[in-house]
Symmetry: none
Subunit: 191 residues, 4 copies
């Protein structure tokens, strides 16, 4: 029985943290953030309340971590070189990865999108969301400008609305949503 290495401890921690987040997401999405207690999450995850607080500072911290973790997955592919400028190739790359993510874990994303329809949850994160949205909106607007369109801002908003709508439709029925067709349609429209 050699003692675990620091690396092993870190991995255990990460795994445990992910388990808690998955359990919480499941419960928050199906019952509602305000209805689900920390006790319930802990017992469903098979740990004690105390230990949960070892991983998350508060219930609010937990939901925020869940939200931004998902958001991070979705946006890490936009502007990969972090130069604040979007190219046609980057946009294409983003769309490919975005749909790939939905395809790989449809149930996760169904639950995830659900969170945004809970007013209280949305309120907790809306400030940081607004920052993220504006950042990308600006990049998109610039991008559409560069394509010589008439009204680049409206095009950017419309693009965002399209992604929203896709999320919504997908949430309602993740298994039967025609991901490939929709992706191709978008690629055709924008790339």
């Amino acid at each position: 029985m050699s003692p675990r290495t620091e690396q092993q401890f870190k991995e255990i921690r990460e795994t445990r943290k992910r388990e808690i987040m998955d359990t919480a997401l499941e419960l928050f999405a199906s019952e509602g953030f305000d209805v689900i207690s920390i006790s319930k999450i802990a017992s469903r995850a098979g740990i004690s309340k105390g230990l949960l607080y070892n991983y998350f500072d508060s219930k609010e911290d937990l939901i925020k971590t869940i939200i931004f973790s998902g958001l991070d997955s979705l946006t890490r592919f936009a502007d990969p070189n972090k130069d604040g400028v979007l190219t046609r190739e980057e946009l294409k790359y983003f769309l490919e990865e975005f749909f790939d993510a939905l395809k790989k874990e449809p149930q996760y994303w169904r639950l995830y999108f659900n969170l945004f329809f809970q007013p209280h949850v949305l309120k907790l994160v809306e400030k940081r969301i607004a920052v993220i949205v504006n950042t990308y909106l600006k990049m998109l607007t610039d991008y559409f400008s560069s394509t010589g369109t008439e009204d680049p801002r409206t095009d950017a908003i419309f693009f965002g609305a399209l992604l929203d709508g896709i999320g919504f439709q997908f949430m309602a029925n993740p298994e039967h949503f025609p991901l490939e067709k929709v992706k191709n349609k978008l690629l055709q429209m924008y790339c």
Copy 2:
């Protein structure tokens, strides 16, 4: 010195009840059912907590009353003669009145549709909603049968989904939603 008449009492009750429901709808929709306390509703409505319970048996009773009151407004125009059969004229009448209602009180309906996206709220009413939905679905299916379509049930579901979608889009932006155009489109499609 003489006590209020029965009529006076009835009027007081109806006015107050409506006031409470309006206040509650506003708060529930913007902050979330679980986050809004009875205290908050009462103080916003300018009454005591106790009085609210004079009008509603419980918080659950309050939200249910709000939900079914709205639902009643929406469905009172379907099958007006209550014979369980839908005619082309009745469908037309329904669509006209439905859009008319949205047009007259867009803010009310925006808040109202919002409620359906709160998991806890939906859970509270889903049983009775299912009954209502099935009733109308059956009538619609029969109606489409009578029009000689190939797959009347799918047509009925599709029609319902259209109304859902309209509610959703309308919710997002009630003032700018092209109600007239959408209504005409529907009338053209179905009547």
Copy 3:
């Protein structure tokens, strides 16, 4: 329609008051003083809450009035000439009337005795009850002294305990309690 005379008004008031007390006694005895609300008493009595407060100052006043009204019925026959002295004839008269009252309204007395087993109720009236009990205990002790018994105070207490016990047994089964036999036994023992 000649206007009611003052006398008539007074009678109406008395009747109404008695009705409220009877209703309240019934409810208090069967469900418990603390469980029964003023609202329930009023609606069961067919009047409004407000009117009830026209007859009784408070819920406490109501139960006290009920208790002392019954106690008054029971004790009005003891020491009828109010001279603080009990004679053999007065004791006999008291026993006769006491049993007569039980016989005439067994259900009333069943409910009435029940009240004394509710700690909260008893606490509300215990001070005045103690005064009454002591008064009669003293009279009884004096009476037993005059009969030349060895331990008159114990005899007085024992007599009181007998009446208590009779009340208790009677409460459990008022219709089948052998009132006559018990009365005769007492008359034989004490008169």
Copy 4:
């Protein structure tokens, strides 16, 4: 640093639970179930309101646990081999243990019997009480049948009534009740 062992937690729970039950019994008996608030019990027991709910699901659960815990103590000695049949030796054993229990903790049993005279309390437990009473009544009836008596059911009821009466008298004055004499009288009558 290491967490408490399971055994330690169990001990803490049992001790606390007993403390709460003892405090509650004291207060319920002296003031009445409906008058005593959870707050009062908690503060008298030196704990927070919240903690009480860690041990009991509700105020009703608390009183029921108290009642059935006492009832269990009283009845565990009846039919010790759980064969549904009462023998002369078992009856004797039961009476010995019953009186022994009263003798060891007279104040506890005084409070305990008091609960049964509170209408609301009795209502909460009457169903389960009826089941228990009927079980023992049946066993007693069978027992008296076996002794060749004329009317075994009446004998069984009478025996039960005797125990009731003993409880009542004992409640009124637990310290001076002649437990030994009464026990011997019963043993002489029934064994």
